[in-house]
Subunit: 285 residues, 2 copies
């Protein structure tokens, strides 16, 4: 079976054996933003044409969005393997796209994810799962089903502030400064709220209390701290690339939250299981 | 006497009579960002050379910053007319710059203002004063002295998100949408926090629940709501340009806060009084 994580900026393919173990992996900077409408089959051929054959291909991520290969409509929460398998879309023989998941919060405001649901189900953990990133997801899983989730614009806000705001003008690229990051996390719990805390990045630098290299880490700590304090969990699972996940674990420690780290390639386990469910469906046809 | 509000993007001069009433006003897009180092005296001559003579000139705003004519160091809170008069800097005979004001919050994080202190003292109100803007100031005044204040990056965050984030891509310039603005203000009090609420601007638009023209007003309401909820006041004074001040009053109403509006030209009253105090000082020389 072939499992693919096809996101906004990258294409990650995994060839799995009969037990679901990764045999071979390929990455390419062929995210959907770089693919013209109609060019998706060609990219798939070019990247893993030699893998294609009888094995089913199951793809998750933004490839299933309106800007992707074909839109696979969101499946509403609560959603586990059954519900998500029910929303799979076949885009050509043996090539399937996993749907995203949607929910509404208590106030009725909608939220969506696409790609993260595969990692969440692949992690095989109940409880509160945190997937840090441009748009961080916090996902509540019970009995193997996604009950609800919330998105935080943390990564995007960090990038936008660093590149385009007054705060960024005082920052220098440098090694992450762990102490400044932790100061930011601690600050996030003080009165004033985020809009006030952001201005403090500037005033502390202005007063010589934060140097240009530490400012970026302090800002990052502030934002991650605000994200993390929105939940009241005492224990979380973090799914993410090593460096980012460790930053989040660092922040969690500062807040007395116990955090377990899981590699995002756990998503292949969910894709493998969805592939197996497909074979079952086919047998019924 | 001549009162000048010389900020980042604009130069506003007022000729006052012996009672402090505005006799004539001139505005020019000659903020300090457009003035080369050393070119400040020339700009002053060019804009109001015909007004200059025996009358003292008192200037407030970013003209007293490191990037301005001459740096007038911050005066620490609590600061009233006496303290601010003590920090006036004469940059050439009869031409004075008003210092900014600084303070520290309970956690020791510094905050600064430059220009707003003049409007605050000119308003002549005790209580909590709100000065909305790129960097909104909330100022506590007791017995005519600024006791403490906090800055919120509301206006800058709005502009940066609208111009550079994913949220802005879905927005269209349009007339302010009062209903959407109020929905944003109400949303700011719901669980999740600002980072989560920001993503909701996107998902509500994605789901067709917020149109492109209303999105900007909803975002504005969200941010102003978060700013306003950081205080627990039941009564405030808003000093700002008419349209912005009315938006803030609208938000205040939504939160059950009583708001009185004061025109920002009240700053000339403070500059007039500082000018009068200077004459007293001169008499003592």
């Amino acid at each position: 079976m072939i499992a693919i994580d096809w996101g906004t900026t990258s294409f990650r393919a995994y060839r799995l054996d009969a037990q679901g173990t990764i045999v071979e992996a390929r990455n390419a900077p062929k995210g959907i933003l770089s693919v013209a409408p109609g060019a998706f089959p060609g990219v798939l051929e070019a990247e893993i044409g030699d893998w294609l054959g009888d094995a089913p291909v199951v793809m998750s991520g933004m490839v299933g969005s309106r800007q992707g290969w074909v839109e696979a409509p969101y499946v509403a929460c609560p959603a586990g393997f059954e519900e998500i398998a029910g929303g799979l879309r076949e885009v050509r023989e043996g090539v399937w796209i996993v749907p995203g998941v949607s929910c509404r919060d208590a106030a009725g405001v909608p939220d969506v994810m696409r790609g993260e649901e595969t990692q969440v189900l692949g992690a095989g953990r109940d409880g509160l799962l945190c997937l840090p990133g441009t748009h961080s997801k916090w996902v509540e899983v019970r009995n193997g089903r996604i009950e609800r989730f919330s998105t935080y614009m943390t990564g995007e806000l960090y990038a936008v502030l660093k590149t385009h705001s007054l705060l960024g003008r005082m920052m220098e690229e440098g090694r992450p400064d762990r102490r400044a990051f932790r100061e930011g996390v601690a600050r996030s719990g003080e009165p004033g709220g985020l809009l006030n805390h952001l201005f403090g990045v500037r005033t502390r630098a202005l007063m010589g209390e934060l140097d240009a290299a530490a400012s970026a880490s302090y800002l990052s700590g502030l934002l991650v701290g605000h994200e993390m304090r929105a939940s009241s969990a005492s224990r979380i699972v973090i799914i993410g690339e090593r460096m980012l996940a460790e930053h989040y674990r660092d922040a969690a420690q500062g807040l007395g939250i116990e955090a377990e780290l899981v590699e995002p390639t756990c998503g292949t386990r969910a894709l493998f299981r969805l592939g197996a469910m497909l074979r079952g469906t086919h047998a019924n046809k």
